[in-house]
Symmetry: C2
Subunit: 198 residues, 2 copies
Amino acid sequence: MEQEILAAAEKLFLAKGFALTSTTEIAREAGCNQALVHYYFRTKERLFQAVFEKLARLFVSTFLQIDEEDLSFEERLQKKIEAHFDIISANPALPVLFFNELSTNPQRLEEFRSRVSEIPSGIFQRLREDLEREIARGAVRPMDVFELVLTVVSLNVGLFLTAPLFKALTGITDERFQELAVRRKSENVRIVLTAVKP
Amino acid sequence: MEQEILAAAEKLFLAKGFALTSTTEIAREAGCNQALVHYYFRTKERLFQAVFEKLARLFVSTFLQIDEEDLSFEERLQKKIEAHFDIISANPALPVLFFNELSTNPQRLEEFRSRVSEIPSGIFQRLREDLEREIARGAVRPMDVFELVLTVVSLNVGLFLTAPLFKALTGITDERFQELAVRRKSENVRIVLTAVKP
DNA sequence: GCATTATTTAATTGTATTATTAAATACGCG
DNA sequence: CGCGTATTTAATAATACAATTAAATAATGC
Protein backbone atom coordinates (compact mmCIF):
# COMPACT_ATOMS: atom_id res chain seq x y z
CA MET A 1 0.00 0.00 0.00
CA GLU A 2 2.89 2.31 0.72
CA GLN A 3 3.79 2.30 -2.96
CA GLU A 4 0.22 3.03 -4.03
CA ILE A 5 0.19 6.01 -1.69
CA LEU A 6 3.46 7.26 -3.09
CA ALA A 7 2.19 6.87 -6.63
CA ALA A 8 -1.09 8.59 -5.83
CA ALA A 9 0.76 11.40 -4.09
CA GLU A 10 3.10 11.86 -7.03
CA LYS A 11 0.22 12.02 -9.44
CA LEU A 12 -1.75 14.54 -7.41
CA PHE A 13 1.18 16.69 -6.38
CA LEU A 14 2.21 16.93 -10.01
CA ALA A 15 -1.30 17.84 -11.07
CA LYS A 16 -2.17 20.33 -8.34
CA GLY A 17 0.91 21.11 -6.34
CA PHE A 18 1.54 20.65 -2.65
CA ALA A 19 -0.91 23.08 -1.13
CA LEU A 20 -3.98 22.14 -3.14
CA THR A 21 -3.59 18.42 -2.58
CA SER A 22 -5.05 16.98 0.62
CA THR A 23 -4.06 13.75 2.31
CA THR A 24 -7.71 12.70 2.11
CA GLU A 25 -7.54 13.02 -1.64
CA ILE A 26 -4.31 11.08 -1.81
CA ALA A 27 -5.90 8.31 0.24
CA ARG A 28 -8.93 8.20 -2.04
CA GLU A 29 -6.69 8.02 -5.11
CA ALA A 30 -4.61 5.28 -3.51
CA GLY A 31 -7.73 3.44 -2.35
CA CYS A 32 -7.21 3.51 1.37
CA ASN A 33 -8.04 5.32 4.55
CA GLN A 34 -6.69 8.80 5.13
CA ALA A 35 -5.02 7.80 8.37
CA LEU A 36 -2.92 5.31 6.47
CA VAL A 37 -1.20 8.09 4.62
CA HIS A 38 -0.04 9.41 7.97
CA TYR A 39 0.80 5.94 9.25
CA TYR A 40 3.35 5.50 6.48
CA PHE A 41 4.63 9.03 6.11
CA ARG A 42 3.72 10.74 9.38
CA THR A 43 3.13 14.13 7.82
CA LYS A 44 2.05 15.47 4.46
CA GLU A 45 5.30 17.39 4.36
CA ARG A 46 7.41 14.24 4.66
CA LEU A 47 5.35 12.50 2.02
CA PHE A 48 5.89 15.42 -0.28
CA GLN A 49 9.61 15.37 0.38
CA ALA A 50 9.75 11.72 -0.62
CA VAL A 51 7.97 12.48 -3.88
CA PHE A 52 9.86 15.67 -4.56
CA GLU A 53 13.28 14.25 -3.98
CA LYS A 54 12.64 11.47 -6.45
CA LEU A 55 11.37 13.95 -9.05
CA ALA A 56 14.14 16.47 -8.46
CA ARG A 57 16.71 13.71 -8.83
CA LEU A 58 15.08 12.74 -12.10
CA PHE A 59 15.09 16.30 -13.31
CA VAL A 60 18.79 16.93 -12.75
CA SER A 61 19.96 13.37 -13.40
CA THR A 62 20.59 13.93 -17.09
CA PHE A 63 23.43 16.32 -16.51
CA LEU A 64 25.06 14.03 -13.99
CA GLN A 65 25.21 10.99 -16.20
CA ILE A 66 28.66 10.39 -17.50
CA ASP A 67 28.58 8.77 -20.87
CA GLU A 68 31.81 6.98 -21.53
CA GLU A 69 31.07 6.58 -25.19
CA ASP A 70 33.64 7.86 -27.58
CA LEU A 71 31.71 10.72 -29.04
CA SER A 72 32.53 14.27 -29.97
CA PHE A 73 31.57 17.11 -27.67
CA GLU A 74 28.73 18.10 -29.95
CA GLU A 75 27.38 14.59 -30.09
CA ARG A 76 27.52 14.21 -26.32
CA LEU A 77 25.85 17.57 -25.87
CA GLN A 78 23.13 16.54 -28.27
CA LYS A 79 22.57 13.32 -26.31
CA LYS A 80 22.29 15.22 -23.08
CA ILE A 81 19.83 17.71 -24.48
CA GLU A 82 17.68 14.94 -25.92
CA ALA A 83 17.81 12.85 -22.77
CA HIS A 84 16.80 15.86 -20.72
CA PHE A 85 13.98 16.67 -23.09
CA ASP A 86 12.73 13.09 -23.03
CA ILE A 87 12.60 12.99 -19.26
CA ILE A 88 10.54 16.16 -19.13
CA SER A 89 8.39 14.97 -22.00
CA ALA A 90 7.59 11.85 -19.98
CA ASN A 91 6.81 14.01 -16.95
CA PRO A 92 5.45 17.22 -18.42
CA ALA A 93 4.15 18.56 -15.12
CA LEU A 94 7.51 18.23 -13.46
CA PRO A 95 8.99 21.63 -14.31
CA VAL A 96 6.06 23.58 -12.93
CA LEU A 97 6.10 21.67 -9.68
CA PHE A 98 9.85 21.88 -9.44
CA PHE A 99 10.20 25.61 -10.00
CA ASN A 100 7.10 26.51 -8.08
CA GLU A 101 8.12 24.64 -4.96
CA LEU A 102 11.67 25.91 -5.07
CA SER A 103 10.45 29.46 -5.58
CA THR A 104 7.64 29.61 -3.05
CA ASN A 105 9.11 27.49 -0.28
CA PRO A 106 12.49 28.53 1.16
CA GLN A 107 12.67 25.31 3.16
CA ARG A 108 12.46 23.24 -0.01
CA LEU A 109 15.26 25.24 -1.53
CA GLU A 110 17.42 24.65 1.51
CA GLU A 111 16.79 20.91 1.40
CA PHE A 112 17.67 20.83 -2.25
CA ARG A 113 20.82 22.80 -1.64
CA SER A 114 22.01 20.47 1.10
CA ARG A 115 21.34 17.43 -1.09
CA VAL A 116 23.25 18.85 -4.00
CA SER A 117 26.21 19.69 -1.80
CA GLU A 118 26.47 15.99 -0.93
CA ILE A 119 27.64 15.40 -4.47
CA PRO A 120 31.38 15.95 -4.48
CA SER A 121 33.16 18.33 -6.83
CA GLY A 122 30.06 19.93 -8.22
CA ILE A 123 27.40 18.44 -10.43
CA PHE A 124 28.65 19.94 -13.65
CA GLN A 125 32.32 19.16 -13.20
CA ARG A 126 32.62 16.79 -16.12
CA LEU A 127 30.59 18.99 -18.41
CA ARG A 128 32.65 21.98 -17.35
CA GLU A 129 35.90 20.25 -18.17
CA ASP A 130 34.62 19.21 -21.59
CA LEU A 131 33.39 22.68 -22.26
CA GLU A 132 36.63 24.37 -21.27
CA ARG A 133 38.62 22.04 -23.43
CA GLU A 134 36.44 22.90 -26.42
CA ILE A 135 36.74 26.59 -25.69
CA ALA A 136 40.51 26.29 -25.50
CA ARG A 137 40.45 24.54 -28.86
CA GLY A 138 38.46 27.43 -30.24
CA ALA A 139 35.64 25.06 -31.20
CA VAL A 140 33.18 26.67 -28.80
CA ARG A 141 32.62 30.29 -27.93
CA PRO A 142 33.80 31.33 -24.44
CA MET A 143 31.02 30.74 -21.97
CA ASP A 144 30.34 29.53 -18.46
CA VAL A 145 28.95 26.05 -17.97
CA PHE A 146 25.94 27.57 -16.23
CA GLU A 147 25.17 29.62 -19.32
CA LEU A 148 25.05 26.49 -21.40
CA VAL A 149 22.94 24.55 -18.91
CA LEU A 150 20.58 27.46 -18.53
CA THR A 151 20.04 27.65 -22.27
CA VAL A 152 19.34 23.94 -22.52
CA VAL A 153 17.01 23.83 -19.53
CA SER A 154 15.18 26.97 -20.61
CA LEU A 155 14.47 25.64 -24.07
CA ASN A 156 13.56 22.14 -22.96
CA VAL A 157 11.33 23.27 -20.16
CA GLY A 158 9.64 26.01 -22.15
CA LEU A 159 7.42 23.83 -24.28
CA PHE A 160 5.98 22.03 -21.27
CA LEU A 161 5.54 25.11 -19.13
CA THR A 162 3.51 26.71 -21.88
CA ALA A 163 1.78 23.50 -22.96
CA PRO A 164 -1.47 23.97 -21.00
CA LEU A 165 -1.74 27.50 -22.36
CA PHE A 166 -0.84 26.43 -25.86
CA LYS A 167 -3.32 23.56 -25.81
CA ALA A 168 -6.09 25.74 -24.45
CA LEU A 169 -5.49 28.46 -27.05
CA THR A 170 -5.04 26.28 -30.10
CA GLY A 171 -7.13 23.26 -29.14
CA ILE A 172 -4.39 21.02 -30.44
CA THR A 173 -4.86 17.29 -29.91
CA ASP A 174 -2.48 15.37 -27.70
CA GLU A 175 -1.21 13.34 -30.64
CA ARG A 176 -0.37 16.43 -32.68
CA PHE A 177 1.21 17.99 -29.63
CA GLN A 178 3.37 14.90 -29.34
CA GLU A 179 4.48 15.34 -32.93
CA LEU A 180 5.22 18.96 -32.26
CA ALA A 181 7.28 17.98 -29.23
CA VAL A 182 9.42 15.67 -31.34
CA ARG A 183 10.17 18.46 -33.76
CA ARG A 184 10.82 20.84 -30.92
CA LYS A 185 13.37 18.53 -29.41
CA SER A 186 15.54 18.55 -32.51
CA GLU A 187 14.96 22.24 -32.88
CA ASN A 188 16.29 22.78 -29.36
CA VAL A 189 19.37 20.74 -30.24
CA ARG A 190 19.87 22.84 -33.32
CA ILE A 191 19.49 26.11 -31.43
CA VAL A 192 21.93 25.14 -28.72
CA LEU A 193 24.53 23.76 -31.11
CA THR A 194 24.27 26.89 -33.20
CA ALA A 195 24.44 29.09 -30.13
CA VAL A 196 27.65 27.57 -28.80
CA LYS A 197 29.49 28.04 -32.06
CA PRO A 198 32.12 30.77 -31.86
CA MET B 1 -7.46 50.96 1.30
CA GLU B 2 -8.59 48.96 -1.68
CA GLN B 3 -5.32 49.73 -3.43
CA GLU B 4 -3.26 48.74 -0.40
CA ILE B 5 -5.08 45.42 -0.30
CA LEU B 6 -4.45 44.87 -3.98
CA ALA B 7 -0.78 45.70 -3.57
CA ALA B 8 -0.44 43.45 -0.54
CA ALA B 9 -2.22 40.66 -2.36
CA GLU B 10 0.02 41.02 -5.39
CA LYS B 11 3.12 40.92 -3.26
CA LEU B 12 2.04 37.85 -1.31
CA PHE B 13 0.56 35.95 -4.23
CA LEU B 14 3.78 36.47 -6.15
CA ALA B 15 5.84 35.32 -3.22
CA LYS B 16 3.83 32.31 -2.12
CA GLY B 17 1.17 31.58 -4.70
CA PHE B 18 -2.58 31.50 -4.30
CA ALA B 19 -3.04 28.53 -2.01
CA LEU B 20 -0.40 29.40 0.57
CA THR B 21 -1.54 32.99 0.97
CA SER B 22 -4.39 33.67 3.41
CA THR B 23 -6.72 36.63 3.43
CA THR B 24 -5.69 37.21 7.04
CA GLU B 25 -2.10 37.59 5.90
CA ILE B 26 -3.09 39.94 3.10
CA ALA B 27 -4.99 42.06 5.59
CA ARG B 28 -2.01 42.18 7.93
CA GLU B 29 0.29 43.18 5.07
CA ALA B 30 -2.18 45.85 3.95
CA GLY B 31 -2.71 47.05 7.51
CA CYS B 32 -6.40 46.39 7.91
CA ASN B 33 -8.96 43.94 9.19
CA GLN B 34 -9.40 40.61 7.44
CA ALA B 35 -13.07 41.26 6.81
CA LEU B 36 -12.14 44.29 4.78
CA VAL B 37 -10.45 42.11 2.22
CA HIS B 38 -13.78 40.40 1.70
CA TYR B 39 -15.68 43.66 1.79
CA TYR B 40 -13.77 44.92 -1.24
CA PHE B 41 -13.29 41.69 -3.15
CA ARG B 42 -15.96 39.34 -1.77
CA THR B 43 -13.85 36.24 -2.16
CA LYS B 44 -10.19 35.37 -2.17
CA GLU B 45 -10.70 33.93 -5.62
CA ARG B 46 -11.96 37.23 -7.02
CA LEU B 47 -9.13 39.12 -5.41
CA PHE B 48 -6.70 36.74 -6.99
CA GLN B 49 -8.33 37.17 -10.37
CA ALA B 50 -7.91 40.92 -10.13
CA VAL B 51 -4.22 40.50 -9.37
CA PHE B 52 -3.66 37.75 -11.88
CA GLU B 53 -5.32 39.49 -14.76
CA LYS B 54 -3.14 42.52 -14.29
CA LEU B 55 -0.03 40.38 -14.16
CA ALA B 56 -1.01 38.18 -17.08
CA ARG B 57 -1.71 41.26 -19.15
CA LEU B 58 1.72 42.56 -18.26
CA PHE B 59 3.33 39.28 -19.18
CA VAL B 60 1.86 39.06 -22.67
CA SER B 61 1.73 42.79 -23.34
CA THR B 62 5.13 42.92 -24.97
CA PHE B 63 4.07 40.85 -27.92
CA LEU B 64 0.95 42.88 -28.42
CA GLN B 65 2.66 46.21 -28.64
CA ILE B 66 2.86 47.46 -32.16
CA ASP B 67 5.90 49.57 -32.69
CA GLU B 68 5.40 51.80 -35.68
CA GLU B 69 9.03 52.72 -35.82
CA ASP B 70 10.76 52.22 -39.10
CA LEU B 71 13.03 49.40 -38.11
CA SER B 72 14.13 46.19 -39.72
CA PHE B 73 12.55 42.93 -38.69
CA GLU B 74 15.62 41.96 -36.72
CA GLU B 75 15.70 45.26 -34.89
CA ARG B 76 12.03 45.03 -34.02
CA LEU B 77 12.47 41.45 -32.86
CA GLN B 78 15.38 42.53 -30.71
CA LYS B 79 13.29 45.28 -29.15
CA LYS B 80 10.50 42.85 -28.37
CA ILE B 81 12.85 40.34 -26.78
CA GLU B 82 14.46 43.03 -24.66
CA ALA B 83 11.17 44.56 -23.61
CA HIS B 84 9.85 41.15 -22.63
CA PHE B 85 13.00 40.40 -20.68
CA ASP B 86 12.84 43.74 -18.89
CA ILE B 87 9.27 43.19 -17.77
CA ILE B 88 10.12 39.81 -16.30
CA SER B 89 13.29 41.19 -14.81
CA ALA B 90 11.20 43.80 -13.01
CA ASN B 91 8.79 41.08 -11.86
CA PRO B 92 10.98 38.02 -11.45
CA ALA B 93 8.36 36.00 -9.59
CA LEU B 94 5.81 36.48 -12.33
CA PRO B 95 6.65 33.48 -14.52
CA VAL B 96 6.40 30.96 -11.71
CA LEU B 97 3.02 32.29 -10.61
CA PHE B 98 1.80 32.51 -14.16
CA PHE B 99 2.71 29.02 -15.25
CA ASN B 100 1.86 27.42 -11.97
CA GLU B 101 -1.63 28.85 -11.84
CA LEU B 102 -2.36 28.08 -15.47
CA SER B 103 -1.07 24.54 -15.03
CA THR B 104 -2.69 23.61 -11.75
CA ASN B 105 -6.00 25.39 -12.08
CA PRO B 106 -8.18 24.57 -15.11
CA GLN B 107 -10.54 27.39 -14.24
CA ARG B 108 -7.73 29.92 -14.48
CA LEU B 109 -6.81 28.57 -17.87
CA GLU B 110 -10.37 28.93 -19.08
CA GLU B 111 -10.56 32.53 -17.86
CA PHE B 112 -7.34 33.33 -19.61
CA ARG B 113 -8.54 31.70 -22.79
CA SER B 114 -11.76 33.70 -22.85
CA ARG B 115 -9.88 36.93 -22.21
CA VAL B 116 -7.45 36.28 -25.01
CA SER B 117 -10.25 35.51 -27.43
CA GLU B 118 -11.62 38.99 -26.80
CA ILE B 119 -8.63 40.31 -28.69
CA PRO B 120 -9.57 40.27 -32.35
CA SER B 121 -7.57 38.51 -35.02
CA GLY B 122 -5.19 36.78 -32.67
CA ILE B 123 -2.54 38.26 -30.48
CA PHE B 124 0.37 37.48 -32.76
CA GLN B 125 -1.18 38.63 -36.00
CA ARG B 126 1.21 41.47 -36.66
CA LEU B 127 4.23 39.45 -35.68
CA ARG B 128 3.02 36.59 -37.86
CA GLU B 129 2.69 38.85 -40.89
CA ASP B 130 6.15 40.24 -40.38
CA LEU B 131 7.58 36.81 -39.93
CA GLU B 132 5.95 35.40 -43.05
CA ARG B 133 7.17 38.29 -45.13
CA GLU B 134 10.72 37.67 -43.97
CA ILE B 135 10.40 33.97 -44.66
CA ALA B 136 9.13 34.70 -48.16
CA ARG B 137 12.13 36.96 -48.66
CA GLY B 138 14.36 34.12 -47.59
CA ALA B 139 15.76 36.24 -44.78
CA VAL B 140 14.37 33.97 -42.08
CA ARG B 141 14.14 30.20 -41.95
CA PRO B 142 10.63 28.75 -42.34
CA MET B 143 8.97 28.59 -38.95
CA ASP B 144 5.67 29.11 -37.22
CA VAL B 145 5.15 32.25 -35.20
CA PHE B 146 4.51 30.09 -32.14
CA GLU B 147 7.93 28.52 -32.53
CA LEU B 148 9.55 31.89 -32.43
CA VAL B 149 7.53 33.13 -29.48
CA LEU B 150 8.18 29.91 -27.62
CA THR B 151 11.92 30.29 -28.07
CA VAL B 152 11.88 33.87 -26.87
CA VAL B 153 9.67 33.19 -23.87
CA SER B 154 11.60 30.07 -22.90
CA LEU B 155 14.92 31.85 -22.90
CA ASN B 156 13.67 34.98 -21.18
CA VAL B 157 11.77 33.13 -18.51
CA GLY B 158 14.47 30.55 -17.89
CA LEU B 159 16.84 32.76 -15.93
CA PHE B 160 14.16 33.85 -13.48
CA LEU B 161 12.63 30.43 -13.02
CA THR B 162 16.01 29.06 -12.06
CA ALA B 163 17.12 32.16 -10.17
CA PRO B 164 16.21 30.95 -6.65
CA LEU B 165 18.02 27.71 -7.33
CA PHE B 166 20.97 29.46 -8.89
CA LYS B 167 21.24 31.94 -6.05
CA ALA B 168 20.99 29.21 -3.44
CA LEU B 169 23.63 27.08 -5.10
CA THR B 170 26.16 29.76 -5.94
CA GLY B 171 25.45 32.30 -3.21
CA ILE B 172 25.63 35.04 -5.78
CA THR B 173 24.82 38.55 -4.59
CA ASP B 174 21.81 40.37 -5.98
CA GLU B 175 24.01 42.99 -7.59
CA ARG B 176 26.09 40.41 -9.41
CA PHE B 177 22.94 38.59 -10.42
CA GLN B 178 21.69 41.83 -11.88
CA GLU B 179 24.86 42.15 -13.94
CA LEU B 180 24.45 38.57 -15.05
CA ALA B 181 20.89 39.30 -16.10
CA VAL B 182 22.00 42.18 -18.30
CA ARG B 183 24.47 39.93 -20.08
CA ARG B 184 21.88 37.21 -20.36
CA LYS B 185 19.43 39.56 -22.03
CA SER B 186 21.79 40.33 -24.89
CA GLU B 187 22.77 36.70 -25.04
CA ASN B 188 19.11 35.75 -25.50
CA VAL B 189 18.85 38.28 -28.32
CA ARG B 190 21.90 36.79 -29.95
CA ILE B 191 20.61 33.23 -29.63
CA VAL B 192 17.23 34.05 -31.11
CA LEU B 193 18.63 36.11 -33.97
CA THR B 194 21.08 33.34 -34.76
CA ALA B 195 18.36 30.71 -34.52
CA VAL B 196 16.01 32.39 -36.97
CA LYS B 197 18.67 32.69 -39.65
CA PRO B 198 18.08 30.33 -42.55
C1' DG C 1 -25.79 69.47 12.26
C1' DC C 2 -28.01 65.67 10.45
C1' DA C 3 -29.03 61.92 7.50
C1' DT C 4 -27.18 58.79 4.37
C1' DT C 5 -23.78 56.17 2.57
C1' DA C 6 -19.16 54.19 2.68
C1' DT C 7 -15.62 52.14 5.26
C1' DT C 8 -13.82 49.46 9.02
C1' DT C 9 -13.91 46.38 12.89
C1' DA C 10 -15.11 42.57 16.14
C1' DA C 11 -17.21 38.39 16.61
C1' DT C 12 -18.71 34.24 14.85
C1' DT C 13 -20.02 30.34 11.71
C1' DG C 14 -19.10 26.62 8.96
C1' DT C 15 -15.96 23.83 6.89
C1' DA C 16 -11.84 21.55 5.30
C1' DT C 17 -7.72 19.68 6.74
C1' DT C 18 -3.80 17.70 9.25
C1' DA C 19 -2.74 14.78 12.67
C1' DT C 20 -3.54 11.55 16.56
C1' DT C 21 -5.55 7.71 19.06
C1' DA C 22 -7.55 3.50 19.94
C1' DA C 23 -9.61 -0.30 18.14
C1' DA C 24 -10.06 -3.86 14.50
C1' DT C 25 -8.32 -6.83 11.05
C1' DA C 26 -4.89 -9.33 8.47
C1' DC C 27 -0.62 -11.71 8.34
C1' DG C 28 3.46 -14.47 9.37
C1' DC C 29 5.62 -17.83 12.07
C1' DG C 30 6.46 -21.18 15.73
C1' DC D 1 -3.92 -23.01 16.02
C1' DG D 2 -2.44 -18.88 18.53
C1' DC D 3 0.65 -15.25 19.59
C1' DG D 4 2.80 -11.09 18.10
C1' DT D 5 3.46 -7.76 14.77
C1' DA D 6 2.09 -5.13 10.84
C1' DT D 7 -1.53 -2.98 8.52
C1' DT D 8 -5.91 -0.71 8.17
C1' DT D 9 -9.93 1.65 9.77
C1' DA D 10 -13.18 4.66 12.40
C1' DA D 11 -13.55 8.36 15.25
C1' DT D 12 -12.10 12.55 16.71
C1' DA D 13 -9.14 16.42 18.33
C1' DA D 14 -7.13 20.64 17.04
C1' DT D 15 -6.55 24.17 14.03
C1' DA D 16 -6.58 27.35 10.26
C1' DC D 17 -9.20 29.47 7.09
C1' DA D 18 -12.84 31.74 4.04
C1' DA D 19 -16.78 33.97 4.49
C1' DT D 20 -20.75 36.29 6.85
C1' DT D 21 -23.10 39.33 10.03
C1' DA D 22 -23.95 43.05 12.82
C1' DA D 23 -22.28 46.87 14.89
C1' DA D 24 -19.24 50.94 14.98
C1' DT D 25 -16.87 54.66 12.92
C1' DA D 26 -15.79 57.88 9.28
C1' DA D 27 -16.93 60.50 5.27
C1' DT D 28 -20.12 63.07 2.35
C1' DG D 29 -23.74 65.80 0.86
C1' DC D 30 -27.59 68.64 2.09
